[in-house]
């Protein structure tokens, strides 16, 4: 009930916002803030009351929905989802605050769409019915399309449609795979979309779902769907465009939550449901056995090098996201507790850190109206607080120990090394390059002589600091005491690794 309430409160908020008159903008903003704060409170309650000692799902609700297809409104949370739900709920109000001043037109529609988006995201992480899962997955598409397309930058139309097309393409493959899973889950009448049931069935010897051949191609179907979202190498090109064009808050959501939907799906569906499939792609034998890790490696190195080449601040951050998601993939490919924990932690941390980075880019953009890295210089003197926070975010992102980015990255790599020595070692190139582009950016923007054009650039204001502080605190806290997050999902991860039948591999 609590969970359902949390999911649908933003939807209710959307209706309320739609009913408000268009002119009363302040009211609309406040109402939206309120309706994003409620899920946050509820998410915190869930987070606190979540029983960390079991891997099972909690707070589950299962109500028959479309009985003809045995589709249930089945939601629940385990450690993995509650973490991401907290992230989503946290970013909600932050994004509303970040949109407070810089959305000039159509604030009502903007806020309404944003609330719809939040419902989609929250629902996605809580869904335990494959169909519901898919519906929520897709539900985020349309609001996102409009949010980028209407409130975005100069090439927003292109970026929006590109985003839309890519994601739809991916989800189409996912849909086929999903239907195949459903149809193979039993005889007519006993078919099911229930994720826990399907996981059990897929692990039952002799069941149609457990057939390796079947699992491999279904795995691929889901994988491509999620890969577009993550995004994984050949499917990534929508991301920089979408990020560059999207308004700040939407970039934050995009990087903070939407990308996580892809990796979350990989964990929740691909790994848990298709152990044979994941085994085929990550058993370390031959090309296919290394393919997933290879993709992770490519993401890391490719994303980092692309980031290095960027001169647009936001694009740089966008490419860095690609690189960082590569660590998630690499960690997942390891399939051991260390790697998977690292990957999940990295998901959460990247959500926090990239949100910070995009917010920071937004702060600068709002003042200077451009994002050309070479166009700045010496801002460190002019905006010391901003510089400080940016340095913190950069350092977190480049994996400085003591900040959260490090823990996930390190665990992913440690886990992956057990299995993919060469690829993991090569992936560490990403660490150096990551440091390189962030430091270089830091230098070009903040160090050196102050560019005389920006002598009057105002310092970051209180509202902006307010959006950044919670994220910064999380970054530091999780860097110092990651157990805080890890204890939420360590049981789930243990269960997951058991499902995948892999023990901690050693050299």
């Amino acid at each position: 009930m609590l969970l359902s309430l949390m999911i649908f409160v933003p939807l209710l908020g959307m209706i309320v916002v739609l009913l408000l008159p268009r002119e009363s903008e302040e009211l609309i903003k406040r109402v939206t803030l309120l309706f994003t704060l409620i899920p946050l409170v509820l998410a915190v309650v869930l987070f606190i009351s979540y029983d960390r000692s079991t891997a099972g799902t909690q707070y589950f609700v299962s109500v028959p929905w479309i009985e003809t297809f045995n589709i249930n409104y089945h939601i629940g949370i385990d450690g993995l989802s509650v973490t991401l739900i907290l992230l989503t709920a946290l970013l909600g109000p932050i994004c509303v605050l970040a949109s407070w001043r810089n959305i000039e037109k159509g604030i009502k529609a903007y806020m309404a769409l944003f609330l719809l988006l939040e419902t989609g995201m929250l629902g996605f992480f809580a869904a335990l019915d494959l169909f519901l899962f898919f519906v929520f997955f897709e539900l985020t598409l349309l609001p996102m399309y409009f949010l980028i397309g209407v409130w975005g930058g100069p090439r927003r139309e292109y970026a929006a449609i590109k985003f839309f097309l890519y994601t739809l393409f991916g989800s189409v493959l996912m849909l086929v795979a999903m239907i195949a899973v459903y149809l193979n889950s039993g005889v007519p009448g006993e078919r099911t979309f229930d994720i826990p049931t399907l996981i059990t069935l897929a692990g039952t010897e002799g069941h149609a779902l457990a057939d390796p051949g079947f699992q491999i191609w279904v795995f691929l179907g889901f994988f491509i769907g999620f890969a577009v979202k993550v995004p994984i190498f050949p499917f990534h090109t929508w991301l920089p465009d979408a990020h560059v064009e999207a308004p700040t808050a939407i970039s934050v959501i995009l990087a903070g939550v939407l990308l996580k939907m892809g990796t979350y799906g990989l964990v929740r569906i691909n790994m848990a449901m298709f152990p044979e499939g994941i085994d085929f792609f990550t058993n370390g034998v031959g090309f296919w056995g290394n393919s997933l890790a290879l993709l992770g490696f490519i993401n890391i190195v490719y994303g980092s090098f692309c980031a290095l080449a960027q001169t647009d601040f936001k694009k740089l951050v966008a490419y860095s996201s690609i690189g960082h998601m590569g660590f998630v993939i690499l960690g997942l490919a390891a399939r051991n507790e260390t790697g998977v924990t690292g990957a999940i932690l990295q998901m959460f941390n990247h959500g926090v850190i990239s949100a910070m980075l995009f917010l920071l880019v937004g702060v600068l953009y709002d003042r200077a109206h451009h994002r050309e890295i070479n166009g700045f210089g010496g801002l460190g003197n002019r905006m010391p607080i901003y510089t400080g926070i940016t340095t913190l975010a950069f350092m977190a992102s480049l994996g400085l120990p003591g900040l959260s980015g490090f823990v996930g990255e390190a665990l992913s790599l440690l886990g992956a090394f057990a299995k993919f020595q060469v690829l993991t070692i090569l992936s560490t190139i990403g660490i150096v390059v990551g440091a390189a582009y962030f430091l270089w950016t830091l230098q070009r923007v903040f160090l050196g002589q102050l560019n005389p054009k920006y002598e009057d650039l105002p310092e970051i204001n209180g509202r902006e600091i307010l959006t950044l502080v919670p994220l910064g605190v999380l970054t530091i806290v999780l860097g110092i005491w990651p157990h805080f997050a890890i204890e939420m999902f360590s049981e789930s991860v243990t269960k997951l690794t058991e499902i995948m039948g892999t023990l901690q591999a050693s050299l």
Binding site: I161, L165, Y166, F169, V228, P234, T237, W238, F305, C306, A307, L308, A309, Q310, E337, T338, N374, G377, G378, G380, P384, I385, G388, T391, L400, P401, G402, F406, V407, L411, L414, F417, A418, I425, T428, I429, V432, V433, A435, A436, L439, W440, Q443, R444, L447, G448, Q449, L450, N451, V469, P482, H483, I486, S490, V493, T494, T497, Q504, S506, L507
Partner: protein
């Protein structure tokens, strides 16, 4: 008690920084950040001394589970043995003194409070590194000190050279860190833990004789892991080939150079290598020894030709660090640590002294900065990532502008002279002599014991480096404090520094005498570190060349004579150890004599060149032009990195970006064309979707297909009828064939 003391030591500086950061968010500064930070450091210092009495014979790690994942646990904790406590004292002591010095030195800087906050953060990180009982914790501290180093080198970030230098420092050390991380991964993959001590720790496990029998490839892996972890030290301790950042790091304020780039952070690499000593196999040890030896020699030769007072000291630091590495690589890790300690004090002293000199020109300095800001056009260098080496020497650091300062700055001169004597290895009353001698003796002993050519070569390098060190250090002294002032204007302006700066110099000067060390490291207080090690018999099996000797384990520490240590060895070990004892004793004596000789020669030459001017340095430089050029250009390391590595990286990233823009699109385009031709009837659509989703291209192809279909829709009804009836015929014909 231990935990709470260490907690206080760690938390004090951290709190000092946190207060600064939190107030900073509210756009405020604590008015007396300097006192706050200094006080925090002093508290830590006191606690460090208190810890001396807490060290127990069998140290146990104090840990908490940091991350626990089912079967695997990453713990965080402290490990307190004598090495730790010595390091703690060194760090807190030097740090406190630098804090005090900075109150005077940094006075009037616009970011004065921030400087102290950074220093506090650095102290915290360094202390954390020192006390950590596991590799992960060490790595965390390791990176954090890197961050602080970055922040402090770039403290005057308006200067492009500083901005470049700080970035270079961070990046270069990160390259090494990645190596270290890979090494950690290898260890983790083998042991499922990164803890070093405790029942399940790596050290405990490898000392188990069963370890190597159970795992045939163990030694091989361990060698690689050892070298990789040493990579981290190569980066941090500025060993060849990653040493280039350290001279550039002199762009930071001088107290920073003293604290971070002389006494503590750069020594962390040595500390780490010493800590990891138990896992170092003979082959990895040899690598370490060579890297150290080469570094010692290369850096020393470069230092001869520098004119920037700070750069000379920087290269000297590199060289001395190489010494320490050499010691560890040769198995005399105690000697290495001993040198670390003595070096920390006298090198910090040298830096602070040079800072004092520079401070003397402070007015000049400010004046120049202003000129610099106004006169030079501000521009960014887009192409270079590690581009800091080309900077000009600031006039206030150029030794060619100095001279005859000993009368103007007697305290500074006196203290610096003590330090110089110490580093040059002037015998018996200076600590540097003892530690350096111990290294030389250790290396020679190893060479004689094993009859190993490698170690003879290494000994030769070390000896040569020792001579050169004496030469260039006295060159510095002569050029700075003796002779006639070369720049009268600046000379007139110079003055002795205020007492806050002089007092630290004095304290450090006192610490450069071995008596003091003896007083601290009284035998009764010191517990010998019980370092476990890979079980020796296993090494024996690997052949004589890879054999490692147990003689250095459980040796006494500072102030305890070699004899005493050897006696204990003798008690413990068999006859073989007796041989080793005598060999080492002999080697020690030979080395002592040789080191005194080379130091004397170095000082003498220096005196002849730079004080008596009996020879002209210029003419020698002309005579040995190629060598001079090599030294002057720092063996072209920077050029190499810039020219090859950096260009390659930038080129690669550009390529990737281009690839993203054109190549993938191009591939899609090409595939689209082929597909269109192959499946012309199928309108080249379906496969493009599968191949890739680059929207533009696919859209174009689909669009073109749409346009093609449009053309069939001519508007003439009979065309339509043709399609219908032709379609019917086609369907029938096709399906009839099926």
């Amino acid at each position: 008690m231990v935990v709470s003391l260490i907690s206080i030591i760690l938390l004090c500086p951290l709190a000092a920084f946190a207060i600064f950061a939190l107030l900073g968010l509210a756009k405020r500064n604590f008015p007396r950040q300097d006192y706050l930070s200094t006080a925090a450091m002093l508290v830590a210092l006191v606690c460090s001394f208190l810890l001396l009495w807490e060290v127990v014979p069998k140290p146990e790690p104090h840990t908490v589970d940091w991350i626990s994942l089912g079967k695997i646990t990453f713990s965080m904790g402290f490990y307190l043995d004598s090495v730790t406590v010595i390091m703690l004292i060194v760090v807190t002591l030097v740090s406190s003194l630098v804090h005090i010095f900075s109150i005077g030195y940094m006075h009037g800087d616009p970011r004065y409070p921030r400087f102290f906050a950074y220093l506090s953060l650095f102290s915290f990180s360094m202390l954390f590194l020192v006390v950590s009982d596991n590799l992960l914790g060490i790595y965390i501290g390791w990176e954090l000190v890197g961050l602080c180093s970055y922040l402090l080198i770039g403290f005057w970030f308006e200067k492009d050279s500083a901005a470049n230098a700080c970035k270079k420092a961070f990046l270069t050390t990160r390259v090494g860190d990645v190596g270290m991380f890979i090494g950690m991964m290898m260890l983790f993959a083998r042991f499922d833990t990164l803890s070093l001590y405790g029942d399940n720790g790596i050290f405990t496990r490898i000392t188990n004789p069963e370890y190597l029998t159970a795992d045939a490839s163990g030694i091989f892996w361990l060698s690689i892991a050892g070298v990789l972890i040493f990579c981290g030290a190569v980066g941090k301790s500025a060993q060849v080939p990653l040493h280039t950042w350290l001279p550039d790091a002199m762009e930071g304020p001088t107290p920073v150079s003293a604290l971070i780039h002389a006494a503590t952070m750069v020594a962390a690499g040595v500390y780490l290598t010493a800590r990891m000593f138990p896992i170092l196999t003979p082959s990895s040890s040899l690598v370490i020894a060579y890297v150290g030896g080469i570094t010692a020699l290369v850096a020393a030769t470069i230092a001869i030709v520098r004119f920037d007072i700070k750069r000379v000291l920087a290269y000297s630091t590199v060289s001395q660090l190489g010494y320490m590495m050499l010691a560890i690589g040769a198995g005399s890790y105690v000697a290495g640590l001993f040198h670390l300690t003595t070096h920390a004090f006298f090198k910090a002293l040298l830096f602070l002294g040079s800072g004092s000199v520079i401070h003397a020109f402070h007015a000049m300095h400010a004046h120049h900065d202003e000129e610099h800001a106004n006169g030079e056009e501000h521009k960014h260098d887009d192409h270079s990532l590690v581009h800091a080496h080309g900077s000009e020497i600031p006039s206030d650091q150029d030794m060619r502008n100095m001279g005859g300062l000993r009368r103007k700055m007697p305290w500074t001169f006196g203290t610096m002279l003590v330090a110089t004597l110490s580093i040059s290895g002037v015998p018996f009353i200076f600590s540097g002599f003892w530690s350096k001698d111990k290294i030389l003796g250790g290396v020679l002993g190893r060479a004689m014991e094993w009859n190993s050519v490698h170690h003879y070569v290494l000994f030769g390098m070390a000896l040569l480096a020792a001579g050169i060190t004496a030469f260039y250090m006295f060159r510095l002294i002569f050029m700075t404090f003796f002779g006639e002032p070369r720049n009268q204007e600046m000379h007139d302006m110079a003055h002795e520094s205020p007492w806050v700066m002089v007092v630290p110099l004095l304290v450090l000067a006192i610490l450069s005498f071995p008596v003091v060390n003896k007083w601290w490291f009284n035998k009764d207080n010191i517990i010998r570190p019980e370092q476990p090690h890979i079980h020796a018999p296993q090494h024996a099996q690997l052949g004589p060349d890879t054999k490692i000797d147990g003689a250095n384990f459980g040796i006494a520490f500072f102030g305890i004579s070699e004899t005493e240590a050897a006696e204990e060895e003798g008690e413990k070990n068999t006859k073989k150890a007796d041989d080793a004892y005598y060999i080492h004793k002999l080697a020690h004596n030979i080395a002592m004599v040789l080191s005194i000789v080379v130091a004397g020669v170095g000082i003498l030459l220096s005196w002849l060149f730079y004080h008596r001017r009996r020879f002209s340095a210029e003419s020698v430089a002309t005579t040995f032009r190629p060598a001079y050029n090599l030294f002057w250009n720092k063996y072209y390391f920077d050029e190499f990195y810039d020219g090859v590595l950096v260009a390659l990286t930038v080129w690669k990233s550009r390529l990737f970006a281009k690839f993203d823009l054109s190549a993938i699109d191009g591939i899609v385009n090409g595939v689209a064309t082929i597909t269109r031709q192959v499946f012309a009837a199928f309108i080249g659509f379906f496969d493009n979707r599968v191949v890739d989703g680059i929207v533009n291209r696919v859209a174009e192809v689909t669009w073109a297909a749409g346009g093609r279909i449009r053309r069939i829709q001519t508007g003439a009804i009979q065309t339509y009828l043709f399609v219908v009836l032709g379609g019917i015929v086609l369907i029938i014909l096709i399906f009839r064939a099926l």
